[in-house]
């Protein structure tokens, strides 16, 4: 059977969040199993199931090249810009 990754929205207003995976023959079975495995205590109001094979992920070995450039762009943050005391918050 196929591997499905399970995402659950805890309550409306929040994002769906990855909680784990399970095996199922089709998306409908994956949904039903996810209901039983991952929401026995009102953990969710909505479930997404995604075939694991359908997910394309970034490569951890390239994470420096991918994510480090953001570190030296501190001008993207408001605290980079000093404000006169009189203005205080902005």
């Amino acid at each position: 059977m196929k591997l499905y990754e399970i995402f659950i929205r805890a309550k409306s207003g929040l994002n769906h969040r990855h909680v784990g995976s399970l095996h199922a023959a089709d998306p409908q079975m994956a949904l039903q199993n996810a209901r039983d495995v991952y929401t026995r205590r009102e953990e969710g109001v909505s479930i997404w199931v995604v075939e694991a094979a359908a997910i394309t992920a970034s490569n951890p070995e390239q994470s420096e090249a991918w994510f480090d450039p953001a570190a030296d762009k501190i001008y993207r943050h408001p605290t980079f810009y000093p404000l006169d005391e009189e203005v205080d918050n902005m």
């Binding site: 059977m1 909680v19 095996h23 089709d26 026995r40 951890p60």
Partner: protein, 322 residues
């Protein structure tokens, strides 16, 4: 519910630089995620520990499942059913986390059924009395919680996350067990005797759940260094005893250990010698119920085969119609 019997996995030659960088991440309390580089020995150790943990959850359903149809009231039956369903869920969370390390579910099932993979020794003890449901929840799940709470901070992300879920649910298991013991201990003389008898039988096996004494535990140091394990077997066992003795006293039940006494100087209870020969025999497969437990798993696996086949054919048909 929890696992034991970690062994060292001796890795082959791996680049010194990678190993050092890996240990540095661990020392900095960074979590390791599935696609990150990890030493082969770390992967093997985790696969062994996590699959045994998952197997323990699955086999752990058996001693209690036996009592679902015999529960004394409808309320107790519903609670027990929910608890056993949780154990199945816990097994699935951990199986799914273990698969991220590159082992298939089928292979893990094969290792359990062939006896290659172990599961917690505690589930090889029989449950002839309803009070055993109380003792298991109170003591066995109580010991499991002691073990599992530190695992919520284990260095491997998927394992730690599954433990967080499990610990949240496990606490109901322990309380419902203590609740059963409370009702029995405050009931008729015969009921109190049942509760005491269950405590007598489950006390020592529950202490064995923490694994061999530190002086005999050869594999702990590496697991501690990798932050898979955070506390030693003996420390956790002591913590469990210190927490549980007052709970027994509160119910007027007697811990079956004549050497048990509070040590003012240490600030802990002293306790008697554990029968490690018994522990070794049970681990080896010679416990009272090892054969029944594996036979029950094998039977369930065999009888479920047509379901697995039907699901596969259904999956094939779905693809063909697309």
């Amino acid at each position: 519910m929890y696992s034991q019997g970690l062994q060292d996995a001796k890795g082959g030659q791996e680049p010194e630089g990678l190993l050092k960088a890996f240990q540095k991440r661990i020392d900095n309390e960074e979590k390791i995620e599935p696609r990150d580089w990890m030493p082969e020995a770390y992967r093997k150790t985790l696969i062994r520990q996590m699959s045994q943990h998952a197997h323990s959850e699955i086999v752990g359903q058996l001693p209690e499942g036996n009592w679902i149809t015999r529960a004394p009231t409808l309320k107790r039956k519903m609670i027990l059913l929910a608890k056993v369903q949780d154990e199945a869920g816990h097994g699935l969370y951990i199986y799914s986390a273990t698969e991220t390390l590159g082992i298939s579910r089928d292979e893990m099932t094969r290792q359990l059924l062939s006896g290659e993979a172990k599961y917690s020794s505690i589930f090889n003890y029989p449950t002839p009395s309803w009070a055993d449901m109380g003792a298991i929840g109170w003591l066995v799940d109580g010991a499991a919680i002691m073990n599992q709470v530190p695992l919520c901070r284990a260095s491997y992300g998927p394992y730690a996350r599954s433990m967080v879920r499990i610990c949240k649910e496990e606490s109901f298991h322990q309380r419902q067990g203590y609740d059963i013991m409370t009702v029995l201990a405050r009931g008729s003389r015969a009921q109190k005797k049942m509760a005491q008898d269950a405590l007598n039988r489950f006390w020592w096996p529950a202490l064995m759940m923490f694994g061999p004494s530190d002086k005999d535990s050869t594999h702990s140091a590496q697991s501690m260094q990798w932050k898979i394990k955070r506390f030693s077997n003996d420390d956790l066992r002591q913590k469990f005893i210190d927490a549980t003795v007052p709970q027994a006293e509160h119910l007027g039940l007697t811990i079956p250990d004549k050497d048990l006494k509070w040590n003012e100087e240490r600030g802990h209870y002293d306790f008697g010698e554990i029968d490690w020969q018994e522990f070794i025999q049970v681990i080896k497969g010679n416990g009272p119920c090892n054969k029944q437990r594996l036979a029950a798993r094998q039977k369930a696996h065999d009888e479920g085969e047509w379901v697995r086949k039907a699901a596969e054919i259904y999956q094939q048909n779905q693809q063909d119609t697309v």
